[in-house]
């Protein structure tokens, strides 16, 4: 029989992280017992993506010693958290806090446009975990309040919408493809559209 390579929808990097996710718990019990210094969770099962991140921090150096996660979501959502858990290992907290969705996507060799929101959720979960650590260790001054929250369920901020516009999104559909903002709350759509117009103007895309 002729041997042909099995076709695969995503990149080779996504394939590796999806089929062999790194830094996972061996069981739900292990996750429950895990002593983390910071925990962050974003997403909602309603939307089809939910990510939870646990970090252990070296207090002296303010460096991430260990990053674990659980993900409910598609292949790119699982790959996003997996690759992120590797990226931040040994990284200073302030640097990890600034990891952008684009850095994650690049590490994965790219993601289809419609799957961008997975990477956005990944870095958001990480920031939530770091903020949680800052809160627990009384470093409140270090907590960066992103920007005003637009979508409460997904914790998507004005900043996220601005980033999407900067990265090329021009319509509500484009922005939703990247962030999923407002997918579950149609009431906020006019507000989002207003913000998109505002940021398009701000960055000279009009």
């Amino acid at each position: 029989m002729k041997k042909t390579k099995q076709k695969w929808f995503y990149s080779e990097q996504v394939k590796e992280h999806f089929f062999n996710p790194k830094n996972i718990f061996k069981s739900q019990e292990e996750a429950k017992k895990y002593k983390a210094d910071g925990i962050g969770m974003v997403g909602n099962p309603k939307c089809g993506d939910m990510m939870k991140m646990w970090i252990k921090v070296d207090k002296k150096t303010q460096t991430i010693k260990e990053c674990r996660y659980q993900t409910f979501g598609c292949a790119s959502a699982i790959a996003t958290t997996s690759v992120l858990s590797e990226m931040v290992n040994g990284m200073k907290l302030d640097k990890a806090f600034r990891i952008s969705p684009k850095e994650i996507v690049d590490k994965l060799g790219g993601l289809p446009q419609i799957k961008f929101h997975c990477s956005v959720l990944g870095d958001k979960a990480l920031r939530a975990a770091i903020n949680d650590y800052y809160r627990k260790t009384d470093q409140i001054e270090k907590i960066v309040t992103d920007s005003p929250v637009v979508d409460e369920t997904l914790k998507i901020t004005e900043n996220d919408i601005e980033n999407a516009v900067i990265e090329g999104a021009r319509t509500l559909k484009d922005v939703q493809a990247r962030t999923k903002v407002g997918v579950n709350n149609k009431k906020i759509l006019p507000k989002i559209e207003g913000l998109i117009e505002k940021f398009k103007e701000k960055h000279g895309f009009k």
């Binding site: 089929f19 996710p21 089809g48 939910m50 659980q70 993900t71 598609c74 699982i78």
Partner: protein, 384 residues
Amino acid sequence: MHISYLDNAATTPVDERVLKIMLPYFSDKYGNPGSMHQKGLEAKEAVDEARKTIAKLISAEPNEIIFVSGGTESDNLAIIGTAMALKEKGNHIITTNIEHHAVFDTCEYLEEQGFKVTYVGVKENGIIDPKDIEKTITPKTILISIMHANNEIGTIQPIAEISKIAKSKDIIMHTDACQSAGYLDIDVNKLGVDLMTLNGSKIYGPKGIGILYAKKGTILQPLIYGGGQEKGVRSGTENVPLIVGFAKALEIAHSVRDKESKRLIKLRDKLVAGLKKKISNIHINGDLEKRLPNNVNISFLGVEGESMLLHLDSKGICASTGSACSSHSLEPSHVIKALGLTDEASHGSLRFTLGRHTTEEDIEKVLKELPKIVESLRKISPIA
């Protein structure tokens, strides 16, 4: 690797007999059926023959068969064609909340054009109550469009009963029978419909061909204008090879229907029973009795459909999911949601649609692989 193809509701492979009968019409018998010379007549004869065959299989007259490019065009022609032709009579259309997008989005388009559409909800088992249809009829109702069997959950709708209601109120009745053609009786008189949609690629025929059955006297405004083929309702040179192939495919489907149905019901039930036994926290979507013999649709709570689908694919099993992650819209399946289930259940749904080539081994392969996949995904899920 042997591929266990369990996505026959998406499309089916072309039957070898169908392929064989089509081939001469690509290069040897290439005539345009509209030409008066011998090459044209040769092609016209093939189209006429195919039309007769199809008509006979669904108890229609040959001149009631309109060839179109597939199920989507057929649905569009039925709905927009009727709405536009009857707009002086009324502006109200009734359909359901589990229709295929070819019907759903077409109705939404008509709403933008000023028509009123009522989307009647199915019951928890995925089946429409004819009384619920009857209640929504107004003096302005011109068309009822309800699928014969659902493409996602396989539930069978009481079309004959609804047709009777439509007929008594002088309303045009359309049904999309793309999914049921291989398994159910699609006799247009028994169903009592005025319009019926069929598609080649779901019945081991070629892609790009379908028909709209339009009962004598049904007026349709064309969507495509040109040379006046298909009684002027659908212009464009007849796609002779695909038309010939479609007729053959329908003929074969008809001849193996009962035997195949019996065989697949056994395999289907084995798959459902096996999964129920081996995997906890699952939900079977749609009625188990009034259901196509080849359809299994199950939600696995705590895991997402695309992930399961891709793991299955790596093991050589092709399935499908209602999860938003695999859709273009980021919206989970409207069909699973219509059953009153949570979004989580939609995201975690998998559809297996068996077919003519499905064997006991294929089912056993799913029963062996899927429990491991669900377990590994639940292990890394924050909501399992």
